[in-house]
Symmetry: C2
Subunit: 501 residues, 2 copies
């Protein structure tokens, strides 16, 4: 472990997590590392939760505002939510306990584009950040931080916070050093272009410089990231993946893509896994990823020689693949770049790379307005994440979903979306197991038959019925709607248990 | 006039507009110049409309798909719509006749972010462009085009179209030459950064190079742009402008803005005019604009020395100010840069400049989801224009609207927006005559009181009543809604003539 803290000053600050938690006060705004279950602090959250429980037991107030890269894990979001230690949470919330408390009205949650939060924190839109708690692989001689399996908003939080706590996690491979590319966007008004032209371009340092005067504690840990087991793929996911690959083939036929020019962005899940499995046997070569998270399938594509480079801000690996990463990081770092999320998700670079985006959705309406976040308009699922950053700026963007959920009681395609995260101006292609609806170049009424064709057959007559009603006398016909029955699907679901009524 | 066509080949192509219209066929996709009433072709649209009328009289089909920069004028959009000569229109539609036919279902309209269309045309998302019809001030010896009072998508249309028709308009000042900065973004996958760091940076040429082999006609015109008379400001606009200026002062107090660091983006209208009048007497100096259109108020700011430079893609001037521009373009071109709209509205440059955006809206819901485009979910007003390009990427963004319309029968703040163009993730500040609602850093439920406070007093109890109902038993409390009554305001308006019911 001694090799992991090479700087004398930091060594002098080593203490237990409980001791470090003394620096966290009621009302503090805390910026933590962590993105999609990787690179979050492993010890401080529990220590803060214990402190909260103790103070609450004495009748004292103790709650923090919690900022991260994106989702973390039960031993971070989960323990803090369980202890009622969080007042406000941003920018992403996928933990079950945290989500339950948000939807019960006990925790305030703000859902922010992942590329936006870093700048907003630095500009003080939330007030001053009190403490940054950041996981590291190692601290070098000069006191620089080598981040671990996620970069997230570490740079912005370390810069903005008054106090800094570093967790050095022995579980993380020392060979991750050299995989990161840390670049700080200049402060306004003196910004210059971000000099990334291709996914693999390196423009920064392998470490994060830190103002040592702000470091109040260093905590040693040895704990694994939350790495969810790989789910075996299912028939519906494979069908959706097949349609996605057909779409790519169509782009090649149209002369807009070449077999060695595909730049991938991909959300996490079964369909992306199936897409990547499909790519292994495809004609595509020299694939690049400019995306948020490195998934199992990307390591397979790298191993097979199909993918030359993957740029992201974190890992989202199964335990098996996380183990492989820890063993072979030295090899993988030739093909993987981990960046701050403000760079991995930056509109400037996304537009420049000409990537093809693919993100999951809860559903969309018959005109292509997409709901990514809320059920019934009110109940947060996870958050918008980077889907807006990538969709708005991609060369070509897709939204994917099975056509139904809950044993057929919920249709992905609805008359009117109860929450809209991506507007009709942004949605290009919607894919279900029934095919892909290519909405490019189509006015709203011409999108309707395309979207109904990828709805589940059980729902097609109901959607057609709504559209006919919306087009009937007295209505305006640019984007026909019948507001009196627009939410009937959702009201049926609430009252009768199925959108079918 | 002879001085305006300096190239022999182009001289040989001079013909009447009626003769040039022979190159336009049924089913053609036509890319025209023109943005916000400036720089649109003055003669071809009428000639095409006449051809349509003649063919329709003989029972023949004749309709085109019409692509422009943004809005044009009665003698362009208007005559073509009147003659039923348009099948499909994009990306903006503010002409009354065109709008009426779109809402009647006679013309298909697709509402696209202004920064997106050029690339989508070049990539063939709409099929091949048949003809580009572009207004010019002059054609130089080498056959390059000096554009007129708007650049819009001229570069992309001239590159993509199989045939080119140039209108040379003697009404436009020859001194506009030198004001334009024409830069072509590289084709994928070989893009590099757009090297604009500050609003006034020039990175291209003052002309558009053209493939002469594609030029089929040159038409001489002498006709004014559609320049709408300046509307005298009203009390409500002045109040809104006052709140906007208060917001700016607040940013200075918070240390996020300096009196010589304001970079402005502004939509068109009475409130922006009042804001610019207010800036004349403010402490702000060396103001820069990185925006879509140059308005009267910006010329006043330039004349007063308050504004150093304004970058845009077109003019939207009153007749009086258009006359001044025509007389004094030589002076103004030291302070004005006209760019392709893909550059004026590019996310990359917008984020880099750190501008403060201000755009009008139809209204928004109690959580900050903004409707910019459709009334009652169905009836298009104009289009999203560049509001998405600027809002999503601005350092700070605002939406402005009077709190009511139609003598108080319509409230700008509603329980649920019937069309969403900007999501809760994007909306920072909403301004009415009752103040500004600063939503930054606030979870959805904390935005509600802020937004109700800027609603018209008549609607506040109704909005509170809805919110209480949405928070009542059985509902989820992240973004509380009661879907059964979410559109009651709009149903009341349709059935009883007022959102009040």
């Amino acid at each position: 472990m001694s090799e992991r803290i090479s700087n004398e000053f930091y060594k002098s600050k080593v203490m237990s997590a409980d001791e470090a938690a003394q620096f966290i006060n009621h009302g503090d705004k805390i910026g933590m590392s962590g993105f999609t279950g990787a690179g979050y602090p492993k010890a401080l959250p529990t220590a803060i939760a214990n402190k909260a429980n103790e103070l609450h037991g004495r009748g004292e107030d103790f709650q923090i505002d919690l900022f991260t890269g994106a989702s973390t894990a039960p031993d971070c979001d989960g323990v803090l939510a369980e202890a009622s230690a969080v007042r406000y949470r941003t920018p992403y919330a996928s933990d079950p306990v945290m989500r339950k408390k948000i939807n019960a009205g006990e925790i305030k949650y703000q859902d922010i584009h992942l590329s936006h939060l870093g700048q907003q924190v630095e500009e003080g839109f939330f007030g001053n950040l009190d403490v940054a708690v950041v996981e590291a692989v190692r601290i070098d001689e000069a006191g620089n931080i080598i981040p671990s399996s996620a970069v997230g908003n570490n740079v912005e939080y370390l810069n903005s916070a008054r106090k800094i706590i570093i967790e050095v996690n022995e579980w993380q491979s020392l060979d991750l050093e050299g995989m990161h590319d840390i670049y700080k966007i200049q402060d306004l008004p003196n910004r210059t272009p971000i000099p990334i032209n291709h996914a693999g371009d390196r423009i920064g340092t392998p470490y994060i410089p830190v103002d040592q005067n702000k470091v109040v504690a260093v905590v040693k840990t040895n704990a694994a990231d939350r790495n969810a087991p790989f789910k075996p793929t299912d028939e519906i996911s494979e069908k959706i993946a097949g349609h996605f690959l057909d779409l790519l083939e169509g782009e090649v036929q149209a002369g807009r893509l070449t077999y060695d020019g595909y730049v991938m962005q991909s959300g996490v899940g079964n369909v992306p896994n199936a897409v990547m499995a499909g790519l292994l046997d495809s004609k595509f070569e020299n694939i690049q990823a400019y995306t948020e998270v490195i998934q199992d399938g990307m390591l397979d594509l790298i191993d097979s020689g199909k993918m030359t480079v993957a740029s992201a801000t974190s890992f989202a690996l199964s335990p098996e693949y996380a183990e492989k990463m820890n063993t072979e990081a030295k090899r993988y770092r030739e093909h993987i770049v981990l960046r701050p999320q403000q760079i991995s998700n930056h509109p400037e670079v996304i537009r420049r790379t000409g990537l093809i985006a693919s993100n999951g959705m809860i559903g969309c309406d018959i005109y292509g307005n997409v709901n990514s976040t809320n059920v019934a308009g009110s109940r947060i699922m996870n958050g918008i994440g980077g889907s807006g950053d990538f969709t708005r700026n991609a060369f070509l963007s897709t939204f994917i979903s099975p056509s139904t959920a809950k044993d057929g009681d919920i249709s992905a395609i609805v008359p009117f979306a109860t929450h809209i995260d991506h507007t009709e101006h942004d949605t290009m292609v919607v894919i279900t197991e029934y095919g892909y609806a290519d909405l490019r170049g189509l006015a709203p009424r011409d999108r309707v038959p395309k979207l109904i064709a990828v709805a589940h057959p059980d729902y097609r007559p109901l959607l057609e019925e709504y559209y006919e009603r919306a087009c009937s006398e007295g209505h305006f016909l640019h984007t026909p709607h019948d507001l009196k029955t627009a939410f009937d699907f959702h009201i049926n679901l609430a009252e009768k248990g199925s959108m079918k009524g």
